[in-house]
Symmetry: C2
Subunit: 334 residues, 2 copies
DNA sequence: GCATTCTCTGCAACCGGTTGCGTGTCAAGA
DNA sequence: TCTTGACACGCAACCGGTTGCAGAGAATGC
């Protein structure tokens, strides 16, 4: 009587209760057009009464398709990734898929382990800003469909955020304010984004005939940005473009601590547009459309798994400058 | 010959190649002590050569145990949740489990759908700051083990962050600086945390014989915090304790825009300690230990599923004040 | 009125593992 | 020599769905 068991009804119980075979119940949910209207509705009402819901695991085993997708990011806590996750999530919902999340803590070995653990449980994996070497990425790509974000590996589908346009606009913006010597605050050397941004900035500066200097923050973090400020000021630059917004935020705070007004005495531009206007002054930055990157990657993964064809796909999102209040006229005298 | 198929070998292929039965291969991985040393090593070496890795889905179907856990949060992009996610993730790793992530966008219906979708694919669900009504939570709890974070439903295992100690300390801190009239900037009315914080603050103020006023931000966000500042200043308070750090950050920025120095002319204290020292001035706040909450919830879920006993568990984490630089002496004159 | 086609449903195999039970082997004990 | 029992392994059923194939009626064509 008093069954204290979490009873999730199975297809057999529904079949028995409805007086049909298991196959019919299955089809009532997956191919209703194969059945008569009447049978479908009867089965469905019985199923609803019993609270039946198809077991995804069993379904996955027999069909080979469980709409699950894994998303692996270097660090959930980095504000760059949540919007991306949210974008992917939204698309996954539309496709009726569930999202596995993995956070590698910027550690290649952990990332490796995660991919291996997810493989076999998901239909595809999205690797964001992967820290893995090409060989290992290719190895995994041989066992499960993979889509890369912010990593450019030939032959694999990938979505890249091309910040060069935005960076170029940022340089123009600063140049118009009269800045002649601008500093690039670099991020992790292994990061594809960092290399790309540095290159874009160098090109834009040369085109304008301006003088580029650079300092390197050991990692992309608020603390790194704050710690780099002494070196940054030592370069004699009047403005800085930082690898990402978080670093820029660190710079902003360190400048405030030194009572150096932004943008009156120093201009700062970030990258990624993940902080919105939450800083003071509100950060002028290069939008990175990370949410879109998540969406596109998920759609791409859908195409890849559906078509079974691993075409050479290289989806590039461009960027633009978001002008807020952290860049301004160059100080008259130094 | 040229098999272009992603060939993941099955247990049968390994069995054949090793000249044993499927059962033996299975046991070589799950119960090696049942087999002779020699057989185990032979099977394992064959498996390694073929690149065999047990299919988790099949395993889950037959055992009923797939170490997967779902975590549902209202909003990935709210900085309160990433540390929590990270904490849960770390514990899941230790347990060899994978994490499903769901983001409900603060929407109860979406949350409902998500739970339903995850149920049957996971061994347990962790609901963070759930927007669901009690009835629906109990309904789901009847189908899958559930652990709640920041939600107090009798009879269900839950971990609560008790900010009352921290809030009380915050009030003391402000009182020592001479503040007599302090404003509580409230968050979402439906939020358990908000109710609890408000109550704690009222009690602390009364105990000290201070005057509490309150304003309500319609939602917990940076914008809401910024928009509430006019009302906040209108109350005549000299200090504010905000529902959370993000709101406090909005207040900070709005005050900066009005050239009202913090903490010289106005003191602000946040809640949750999710921003670290990234604001200017660095935010004095009540630590919420959200990472720990994630860890504890996961451990709890492990206990619940392992012991099959749904004991009445109410795990309370206490908090303390983190003093940084956004609170100070009350301005002499108004 | 009979052959043919179409519609609807059931049978049974299958997905890739796990596990209770049974059997064969071999050494120790009586 | 004959139990007895431990040990190592295989057989076969099972988890909960899906799906190719076949068969039973009903509808259609001639």
């Amino acid at each position: 009587m008093d069954e204290p068991w979490r009873g999730v009804p199975t297809i057999s119980q529904v079949a028995q209760a409805a007086g049909v075979s298991r196959a019919t119940v299955s089809r009532a949910f997956t191919r209703p057009q194969m059945l008569s209207q009447e049978t479908v509705s009867r089965v469905k009402s019985v199923a609803a009464r019993l609270g039946y819901v198809p077991n995804q695991v069993a379904r996955a085993l027999s069909t080979g398709r469980h709409g699950n997708i894994a998303l692996i990011v270097p660090d959930v806590a980095n504000p760059f990734f949540p919007p991306l996750i949210r974008g992917a999530q939204a698309r996954a919902d539309l496709a009726g898929a569930c999202l596995f999340l993995g956070s590698s803590d910027e550690n290649a070995d952990r990332e490796d382990t995660l991919v291996a653990k997810f493989t076999g449980q998901v239909e595809g994996v999205i690797l964001v800003s992967s820290r893995l070497d090409e060989e290992r990425i290719r190895h995994h790509a041989g066992r499960v469909p993979i889509v890369l974000i912010n990593r450019d590996v030939t032959g694999l589908p990938r979505v890249l955020i091309d910040t060069s346009v935005g960076i170029s606009a940022a340089v123009d913006h600063l140049a118009e304010f009269g800045h002649r010597r601008i500093c690039y605050v670099a991020g992790p050397a292994a990061s594809w984004s960092n290399q790309q941004r540095r290159k874009a900035m160098r090109a834009a500066m040369r085109r304008r005939g301006l003088e580029m200097v650079a300092v390197t923050a050991q990692r992309a973090s608020f603390e790194a940005g704050r710690d780099i400020v002494a070196a940054l000021l030592g370069t004699g630059a009047t403005a800085a473009i930082a690898f990402d917004d978080v670093t820029a935020q660190g710079i902003l705070v360190a400048l405030a601590e030194r009572r150096i007004a932004v943008p009156e005495r120093f201009s700062v531009i970030g990258c990624d547009d993940v902080l919105g206007a939450t800083t003071f002054p509100p950060l002028t930055t290069v939008s990175a459309r990370c949410d879109e990157a998540g969406e596109v990657a998920l759609d791409l993964l859908g195409d890849v798994t559906r078509l079974k064809a691993m075409r050479e796909i290289r989806y590039v999102l461009d960027t633009h400058l978001v002008v807020r209040g952290s860049a301004g006229t160059v100080p008259a005298a130094r």
